[in-house]
């Protein structure tokens, strides 16, 4: 079969264990970093770590790494549309009171 489907690839318990440990370590890291004063970067670091954790979950626990191109495209388009909607909403709120703050 040329294109992989979700069922063809069985992810090993070892991979799952490594992923789980990585997620727990990242959780401890983000909790630890929140104790350090970083100004605006507290939010940046916390969200960056959250994005990394989410990507690990999607790729391995949700098997996206081993899924068909259709599934990959679906997941990516969903995130793309969500980011587009957030950007447009924020652009609206930022520009409504333009020059009046």
């Amino acid at each position: 079969m040329s294109e992989p489907t979700g069922q063809d690839h069985i992810v090993s318990p070892k991979t799952y264990a490594i992923v789980a440990v990585a997620l727990l370590v990242l959780t401890a890291t983000t909790a630890g970093v929140s104790y350090i004063e970083l100004g605006v970067f507290n939010a940046v670091v916390a969200l960056a770590i959250a994005v990394i954790k989410a990507m690990i979950v999607v790729l391995f626990f949700m098997h996206l790494k081993y899924s068909s191109k259709l599934t990959k495209l679906t997941a990516i388009s969903g995130i793309f549309i969500f980011l587009g909607l957030i950007s447009m909403t924020m652009a609206d709120y930022i520009s409504r009171a333009w020059g009046r703050w």
Binding site: M1, T5, G6, Q7, D8, I10, V11, S12, P13, Y16, A17, V19, A20, L23, L24, T27, A28, T30, A31, S34, Y35, E37, L38, G39, N42, A43, A46, L47, I49, A50, K53, A54, V57, V58, F60, F61, M62, H63, S67, S68, L70, T71, T74, A75, S77, G78, I79, I81, F82, L85, I86, T89, M90, Y93
Partner: protein
């Protein structure tokens, strides 16, 4: 079933009992169901996305109120719950592996562990909700801004953060913070409750051997749902518990 349909069925081709007739192959059936599950999850992204966007905008508008509101949350409970949820995702992923490799007792064990960890998450969440109720931080008639106009009335939080008193106007916006807190974590908890109910059903079916026949679609797709709910919490945790600790 009449004789004629039975003959028609025998005549066409060999296939496993779990393959529906409108699919060419088991693989096609799996892919179609999997695709449908991902589409459902995209609608869920949009659903939670609205709440996240509201939080983003209102936090910028009423920043001081959202900061002192966040200070009411315990980082210990939040971190513990993150660990519980990640572990439950791991046990369910192991359940998917057990189903794929046809290990029935392993699958039942993994489903039980996920079930218990899901309940543990809700237990911790209810401890946090109860504290909000006792401190009059649940939006509604009982809501009180006293802890925010007079921070010393809440010595435990005051000694940790030394928050300055808010004006009554800004303090009233903390109700908005707690409204979003309950809306976001409540919707997440509702998804957990639905997930736990389905897990209960799956434990019964797994004991009957329903998922260890080579037909893993249900376990796999429930896994997608459970991990998705995990991802929502992965974002709720920093936004609600972590990013306002120093301001």
């Amino acid at each position: 079933m009449s004789d004629s349909t039975a003959i028609a069925h025998d005549a066409h081709h060999e296939h496993p009992p779990y393959q529906r007739h409108h699919f060419e192959t088991v693989s096609q059936q799996f892919d179609a169901t999997n695709f449908a599950m991902w589409l459902f999850l995209l609608t869920e992204v949009m659903f939670f996305g609205g709440l996240f966007t509201a939080y983003l905008i209102l936090r910028n508008w009423y920043y001081p109120a959202f900061v002192v509101g966040s200070h009411q949350l315990s980082i210990y409970w939040g971190t513990a719950n993150t660990a519980v949820l990640i572990t439950s995702s791991f046990t369910l992923a192991m359940g998917v592996w057990c189903a794929e490799t046809k290990r029935k007792s392993g699958l039942v064990l993994c489903l039980w562990l996920t079930f218990i960890l899901g309940l543990a998450f809700l237990g911790i969440k209810s401890i946090e909700y109860h504290e909000k109720w006792v401190k009059h931080h649940v939006p509604g008639i009982r809501f009180s801004v006293e802890n925010f106009t007079h921070p010393q009335t809440d010595p435990e939080v005051y000694n940790e953060y030394h928050d300055k008193p808010l004006s009554p106007d800004m303090a009233s916006k903390t109700e908005l913070y707690f409204f979003l807190y309950f809306a976001m974590t409540g919707m997440h908890a509702l998804h957990m409750i639905i997930g736990i109910a389905i897990l209960g059903y799956m434990i019964i079916r797994a004991k009957q051997g329903a998922y260890t026949t080579g037909h893993v679609t249900f376990v796999e797709n429930f896994g997608l749902y459970w991990h998705f709910v995990d991802i929502i919490w992965i974002f709720l945790y920093p936004l609600l518990y972590l990013i306002s600790r120093h301001t």
